[in-house]
Amino acid sequence: MDLISYLRENAGTVLLYGEQHLLVVFFAIALGSTISIGFALLVTPGEAAPQRWSLDWILGAIRDGALLVTAAALTVPSLALLVLLLPLFGLGAATTVTALTIYSLYSVLRNSVAGLSSVDAGVLESAKGLGMGRLRRLIRVQLPLAWPVILNGIRVATLIDVAIAAVAALVRGPGLGQLVLTGLSRYGAANAFNQVLVGTLGCLVVAAVFEIFYAIVERLTVPRGIRV
């Protein structure tokens, strides 16, 4: 059977898997971004060059440590991480979302840290000089200015997660990976190839949906004064 008629006959199933894939990634990204951005806000030093062992210096060290650990997590092969999580979360969606969340941490964290700390020194100094407290500076000045960079980190994390989510089928995770897995197990049967093909390329479609979503979010949330 050719691809077109396969899609026509199995539109419902394919859409269902696509939707699962999208949702699983969405939840993981929402969770991972919240954790990463919140953490980055907490550990952003109030000063650019803090004194040794001051609170700001310690925060900076914690931040650098978190970057190293999350970067290391990203190098762990997805199947290995999934099976390591199995005893904790069991087969299925919980393990999948947890793994995808872990993989999303680094990109968002790195971009949050970079965005928050690259805010122009003059802007920060005048914010301070006008009597803005640390929290107000962080929320009213640094976060909005860092937001485009953070959003870009979320985009990259999403692309990574869309690809990795396909592997989650191996631990009974939801999503397009199920199609690949089914096709693989039915090697030689009718439509086995189409299933693998749709499962693989479907990820690109899911990624495209996210890209459109982020373009809209960017349009709505990036302040007009810093839009390029």
Partner: protein
């Protein structure tokens, strides 16, 4: 502005006023890990409503001194009093909302409109929305940016000079009695800077703030300051005095060298044209014989050309200078026009008198003898 309140030739150490607005007493700052202080034992008193310029080569502790006044940097030793109150005894953020702060990088918030930038401090102080709006428009008028046109723009849509004016407006927003300015015009081209200087003095005439102003440009210090504190390497004040005294009586070799050659020419900045006896001027084409220069004016009294200048052959090129300017400006205008006379005009551009080279030199000789 309070040039009148300074006392040229008066006692050197303290500006005379009832109670100084800002007082530094033996203030030092040693940065952690440094062996020598960036600012050493500085005493300084700034009179209410006056402008004090902190001048000196780069790295001599001017910025550090300024930032200690609003506690962006904490002093290692010494006391800083603001209106009689020790600044270290109050909440730093509250303190800063009562002190205007302008820096060279301007530091406008790029994601805020011009209006929102100016409204930052009033909003933190909990002003009503309507009052904030009024204040924004008022300040934009003050710094010469029509509110209708500029209020809703973003910083990146402004030129450097306009940005700096918004920076000044933002610092003035909550009407703080004190303004700290760190090389605010340092990154601006010379022509725009001249214009900003004039406007700055104009604004100060209306708002009468107590201003500490850091610059490395002696010219700027002389033009703007009521008093000048010259900083030497190592964060010490080498001389604190009026511009006049700094130029004519440098306290030590460091100041002498810093002021350098051309002190006499620089002093011309300090003589306002309004304090000179100008030649009377005759207008119209009717060349009435007499000692007065004759000038042709247009319908609204603005000079068009010289008709006759006594003691000069032919009719020299016309140069004009505003009455609010200094002798330096007049000499500059004459040299520029290759003319030995300059027409002095009032705010509306009407000729109010003339200044001739010979008369000027005579006057300066006389002043020099009297000093």
């Amino acid at each position: 502005m309070s040039r009148a309140t300074t006392n040229p030739g008066g006692s050197a150490d303290r500006p005379p006023d009832q109670q100084p607005m800002i007082v530094l007493e033996g203030v030092s700052k040693t940065y952690p890990g440094h062996l020598t202080p960036a600012v050493a034992e500085v005493d300084l008193a700034v009179a209410r409503g006056s402008i004090v310029m902190l001048v000196g080569p780069s790295g001599c502790g001017k910025t550090t001194t300024l930032k200690m006044m609003n506690r962006l940097i904490e002093p290692t030793t010494g006391r800083i009093l603001l209106d009689g109150e020790d600044v270290t005894k109050v909440n730093a953020d509250q303190l800063r909302r009562r002190i205007g702060y302008v820096i060279q990088q301007v530091g406008l918030f790029p994601h805020f409109t011009v209006g929102q930038n100016i409204g930052v401090v009033p909003r933190m102080l909990g002003w009503e929305r309507r009052r904030i709006r009024q204040r924004i428009d008022e300040l934009l008028e003050l710094v010469g940016l029509p509110p209708g046109e500029f209020r809703d723009r973003y910083p990146r849509q402004l030129s450097g000079g306009q940005q700096q004016r918004v920076g000044v407006a933002r610092a003035l927003a909550a009407d703080p009695p004190v303004m700290l300015m760190d090389e605010p015009f340092g990154a601006i081209d010379p022509i725009t800077r001249e214009r900003l200087h004039d406007q700055f003095l104009e604004i100060q005439r209306t708002v009468r703030k107590t201003i500490c102003f850091v610059t490395h440009d002696l010219q700027e210090a002389i033009k703007l300051g009521d008093h000048i504190a010259i900083f030497a390497a190592g964060g010490r004040i080498a001389q604190y005095d009026t511009p006049e005294m700094i130029l004519s009586r440098p306290a030590n070799d460091f100041v002498r060298e810093f002021v350098g050659s051309g002190a006499a020419v620089r002093r011309l900045h300090l003589i306002a044209l309004s304090t000179l006896a100008l030649d009377k001027i005759a207008t119209g084409s009717s060349a009435t014989a007499g000692a007065h220069p004759v000038i042709e004016v247009d319908g609204s009294g603005r000079p068009v050309a010289w008709i006759r200048v006594p003691g000069v052959d032919g009719s020299p090129a016309l140069a004009t200078v505003p009455l609010s300017g200094s002798v330096y400006d007049a000499v500059d205008a004459m040299l520029d026009a290759h003319s030995s006379a300059v027409a002095v005009v009032d705010g509306d551009g009407r000729a109010v008198g003339a200044l001739r080279w010979e008369a000027l030199v005579g006057e300066l000789q006389m002043r020099g003898r009297h000093r």
